[in-house]
Amino acid sequence: MTANHKAEELERIGGKEAISPTTPLPKGRRLPAIVAAVCGIALSLLAFEMAFRLLLFGKEGRDPVTHLPVTTGIHRIGEGFASSHRDHQGVRLSPNPCSGCPRVLVIGDSYTDAFQVDDTEAFTAVAETMLAGAHPVRLLNAGVAGASPADYLVQAARYRRRLQPAWTVIELNADDLGRDAFLPDKVHFRQEGGRLSLVVPAPYEYGRITQTLGFIREQSALANYAIARLDFARQGPKGPPWFRAGFDSGTRSVPQASQFYPLEHELSLLRSAYGNRVTFLFLPLFNTPIENEEIRFERYCRETTTSCLNFRESFEGFQRIGTAPYGFPNSRFAGGHLNTAGHVAVARLLAMELRRLQQNGLF
């Protein structure tokens, strides 16, 4: 077809459309078509709502003190494929809980709550199984995504009263001790003249729109996911800003990393809050150089003879066989959260340490 023919053809289409822009339905069929459209849309929404309710089968709420979201049951499909169940106290269910055994509380952030792996695969459950013979222990996994040392500190009294642990394992990483513990919009630390104080923000006073959105989120799993996703998209990388040259990938606003965080002070506060019966479990990133925070953590452990574990010592094994402790087939390699192999490796470290502590009569 030549260019002229094309132009003629377009002219013809254009002229035709100018007279009859749409193909209107006959009068008698308009209402049934509208009803059909509404029914189709409703059916689709209903199907998605049901699917999302199947994924989020537990109760979703907020921790009364830290305001962090806590979910009692969820099927995770975005990173790993797994189902998590929690009891009313927020403790992850264990396949074979040992009753009457010493109770070890395990607190941490999303690496501990481990939504990405099944209940039987979380490092707490694996370690419990490893210790089941000679040194049985009940490991209470109370990890909460987004938590930081400031949250662990504010929850200490409540945890000790309610769960009565004989020992506590606190999972940490470099960001936990630094940036995350000082984020002003949640429970955080404040440095004042060399002193470290804890700031617990007042309960949120929701506006009318937020209240309405909150109500909708409670009623509909689909709306809940969509609103959360919208928020995530809003925070994520954006296109170039209006009237500015070039492309700006955009990043989340975070406090300056150059700040010198008082890690040693934080660790000491945590130790004393949990009655000096604490093991710190440090989870560094895979295939990255050792950060300053990690060096300081190691030094603190040595100088105070605190029970400490550093997951880095397991990395060599992963490197040797060309796999990684983090990342899932549906996420990314060596990034994100601990995968099943990672949980087993952490469990092995933890079980060895708990066995040693038990043999030394510490609990």
Partner: protein, 483 residues
């Protein structure tokens, strides 16, 4: 303003509302031209002047070519237009590349010219080619020159195809400006359907597997042979879904606004040979190169040797058009060589079963993406070394995202073949889901979603929800934006 961003959605809705309120065709065109300038300024306001300057120069050059019958004068104006367009392209896109290459030679004598770090204006490769086609067509007397500068500026700056094509020719677009076409219900439905399909390709496939391809190409030596192949498959799918997704969205946006753009992709990975691949991949660029480079060079009219030289030269320059780097030249050379081999193969009367041809073509095209994606020769070498060295260690992983993307693309191709072979008469399935297959003189065959039946409304809503809920959340730029 990326097509898959919230900001663009707001921009498009506002523009459609505005255009539907305007009755006069002239005012509508002016509004659209201003909106296009705004769109471009949102990318980069500094080079809006360059875009308008090129439009102005080519408008004047074409008018002058048309006004005179003196061959020398006509040629002089054409040369002026070409020098302006190619000069701008060479300066903004290739200056640093040439300096860098020259430094490679000067380095032997211990000298170096500092790089200028020239900023690449968005879409310059596309709009200069668009504009050049206009003056050449007027020079060849294949097109009457545009009478109004505003109309011409509207053609060059039309935002739907401005940043990453398709490369629309003036002979296709300018006649549409004469008709009183605007956003109508049917056009919204047709354009919207195409836009949604393009958005799905971009957000559900390209942006999801992009990080896997990035990770592998970033450091090929760290990965196992299997992972290198996975990364290559991921990039092969990513570049197709990203670019054809963008083209679908561009065509869809233009249709919604009342204009038609030419088809740019026709399931290229099903091609039986390299020549067919270039008739299905980035069709508007292949046709541009054919009509304005290959044929003027002599095409296949000057003997076999010259034909092969012309093919190679066209593809080398086509490769260089994609980016200022030797890796793009290598990519072009590979495709040029493949076209020569294919031509010789046909000349000797050799044949191959279509399926074998399809597999071989896909394998060649995929491997040719290695230099295209790798940042330099060393990275290309490292990636190729990994691809051909099984059992030499390295990290391994099974990214199901790539498998899911592969299945989606395969499903899409099955649907595409069904659409290609189906009659436009509606069958039971089409009626139940209120689907329409439409033959379009420019944009090719396309699927139109409807909501007049329960099935249709269910399907349309579900597709939109799947993209909205499971697509990538970040509005990452399209790969071809950097060209």
């Amino acid at each position: 303003m990326v097509f898959s961003s919230f900001r663009f959605a707001g921009f498009l809705v506002a523009l459609l509302l505005l255009l539907s309120l305007i009755r006069s065709n002239e005012s509508r065109k002016r509004a659209l031209c201003l909106a296009s300038c705004l769109f471009y300024a949102a990318w980069d306001f500094r080079y809006l002047g360059l875009l308008l300057l090129i439009s102005g120069i080519d408008f004047v050059a074409a008018a002058q070519i048309d006004q005179t019958e003196l061959p020398r004068r006509r040629r002089a104006w054409l040369v002026f237009s070409m020098v302006t367009n190619l000069g701008c392209l060479a300066y903004f896109k290739y200056t640093d590349f040439f300096i860098h290459s020259l430094n490679g030679v000067l380095g032997v004598y211990g000298r170096e010219i500092p790089l200028l770090h020239v900023f690449l204006p968005a879409g310059i490769s596309f709009y200069t080619f668009k504009s050049m086609s206009y003056t050449i067509d007027v020079y060849r007397r294949e097109l009457r020159p545009c009478r109004r500068l505003f109309d011409y500026a509207m053609f060059v700056s039309f935002f739907a195809d401005l940043i990453a094509g398709p490369i629309v020719r003036a002979s296709v677009f300018l006649p549409q400006l004469e008709n009183r076409v605007g956003p109508t219900a049917r056009r919204l439905q047709e354009g919207g359907s195409l836009f949604v399909i393009g958005m799905g390709k971009k957000l559900l496939i390209a942006d999801q597997i992009g990080p896997i391809a990035d990770a592998v190409f970033q450091n090929p030596g760290a990965w196992s042979c299997g992972m290198a192949w996975t990364g290559l498959i991921a990039y092969t799918l990513q570049i197709y879904c990203d670019f054809s997704g963008y083209s679908d969205m561009a065509l869809g946006v233009a249709q919604m606004l009342g204009y038609d753009l030419p088809e740019n992709f026709r399931m290229p990975y099903l091609s039986g040979d390299v020549s067919e691949f270039w008739q299905r991949w980035h069709i508007t660029l292949s046709q541009w190169l054919r009509d304005y480079l290959y044929i003027p060079l002599g095409g296949n009219r000057k003997g076999p040797t010259r034909t092969y030289v012309n093919l190679l030269l066209t593809m080398l320059l086509g490769g260089l058009w994609h980016g200022a780097g030797w890796n793009f030249v290598l990519w072009g050379a590979l495709h040029g060589a493949a076209l020569c081999v294919h031509r010789a193969w046909r000349k000797f009367g050799l044949r191959m079963p279509r399926l074998a041809g399809q597999v071989l073509t896909l394998l060649f095209v995929s491997l040719a993406w290695v230099p295209f994606r790798a940042v330099d020769a060393a990275a290309t070498k490292a990636m190729l070394a990994r691809l051909i060295a099984p059992g030499t260690g390295g990290s391994h992983w099974v990214p199901v995202t790539v498998i899911a993307a592969l299945m989606l693309v395969a499903g899409g191709h099955v649907a595409g073949l069904w659409i290609e072979r189906s009659s436009t008469e509606r069958n039971i399935l089409q009626r139940a889901f209120n689907l329409e297959i439409k033959d379009h003189p420019l944009s090719g065959r396309q699927l139109v979603f409807g909501t007049n039946t329960i099935g249709g409304a269910f399907l349309t809503t579900s597709i939109v929800l799947i993209i909205a809920l499971f697509g990538a959340t970040s509005a990452s730029p399209f790969i071809y934006f950097r060209f």
